[in-house]
Assembly symmetry: C2
Homo-oligomer: 218 residues x 2
């Protein structure tokens, strides 16, 4: 005999299924009716668990971000070597990303959908997480040539872009990817830029402005 699920269990199941649907169709194109069908909960029955579609998105994002950051703190605990800490950070991020692809896609892809207090709450989480990342980078010492802010976002770009290309059957798992990305980042970050060698001469006589718009009229 199967025990009836508690309120919390059922809410978590709804959040999980909703995340999968938002990830597949996108937040705006996914309808509450889709979620109703996937969860076998009636349309109106769902509103017992959240007040609005936006709150549903918020619950997913908030829980996801909170868990990600919480795990990071656990993993970092007691570790003081700067390089090891960077490695742990990347590994934690990628493990979490690949184990919760739907949720993390929703987090990355629907980042600017929320409004008002929901938006503020998620952005607070995001800032705290980014600050943790920045601290870790600062501990590495001064960079060799790239600016810390650009470098931080370059690292996040590498990691967060994953959901657009990673296929579990052919691509490396999270731990191997973490090794590779840490390696990729670390060497470039600490190696100084060789003056004069690494810049490209301007293309001569192109005649076009340096920031041409796409909308050519030829």
């Amino acid at each position: 005999m199967e025990a009836r699920p508690t309120y919390d269990e059922k809410l978590l199941r709804i959040l999980r299924e909703s995340a999968a649907i938002f990830a597949a169709k996108g937040y705006h194109r996914a309808s509450i009716r889709d979620i109703s069908a996937a969860t076998d909960v009636s349309l109106s029955g769902l509103y017992y668990y959240f007040k609005s579609k936006e709150e549903l998105l918020f619950l997913i994002q908030d829980h996801c971000f909170g868990t990600l950051h919480h795990r990071l703190d656990e993993e970092l605990e007691g570790n003081t070597d700067p390089v090891a800490r960077l490695r742990i950070f990347v590994r934690n991020h990628l493990r979490f990303f690949l184990s919760n692809q739907a949720e993390m896609k929703v987090l990355s892809h629907e980042a600017d959908v929320l409004t008002g207090e929901h938006r503020a709450a998620v952005q607070k989480r995001k800032r705290a997480y980014a600050a943790a990342a920045e601290t870790i980078l600062t501990e590495l010492g001064p960079p060799g040539g790239v600016e810390p802010r650009s470098a931080t976002f370059a690292l996040f770009g590498m990691m967060n872009w994953i959901y657009t290309w990673h296929r579990p059957d052919v691509d490396p798992d999270a731990d191997r990817l973490a090794e590779q990305m840490t390696h990729l980042f670390l060497h470039g970050y600490r190696t100084p830029i060789a003056e004069g060698v690494e810049t490209l001469p301007e293309r001569s006589g192109g005649g076009r402005g340096d920031a041409p718009s796409i909308w050519r009229t030829d």
Copy 2:
């Protein structure tokens, strides 16, 4: 006396304004009525320029990708040094991205909205562009440790993530960013991974599975 715009000029204007609106609100949330208001063309009048909302998105993406790739070929022409070619590739991509942020955001963010032939046509463009990138990376010689496929996407991730963070008033311009990202990528890509030094010991006795789901039930 202002000359009346031609058909093509007006279409391009509509595409430009639409791209800005899609970038700001997202494809699904932006309505044809929004575009009508922004362009001062009536709702039905717009359908003289495209057959459906999806075709409008296609026209933007197709034109954008086509121009990006076309520019790349122009810039690469006559240049044979592998490192210089990589540098040109990154610079071209970033220049284009920052000069056409709205269009490139639409390209990145609404990548899997199109269906049928529209989707196929854009994916063909994307594959051709990615192939060009892969060729450039191959010319660099064998990587030092990271896999070429992961490395390629890591590079694209760095570059394509830009639209989420770049602020023209505080961040470096396209050319400086290109220098930095090329540097970042190149050193990591060619430096071998030091055996045994760069791997992290498993966390001892964590007791949790290695790919824990977010949806803890505690």
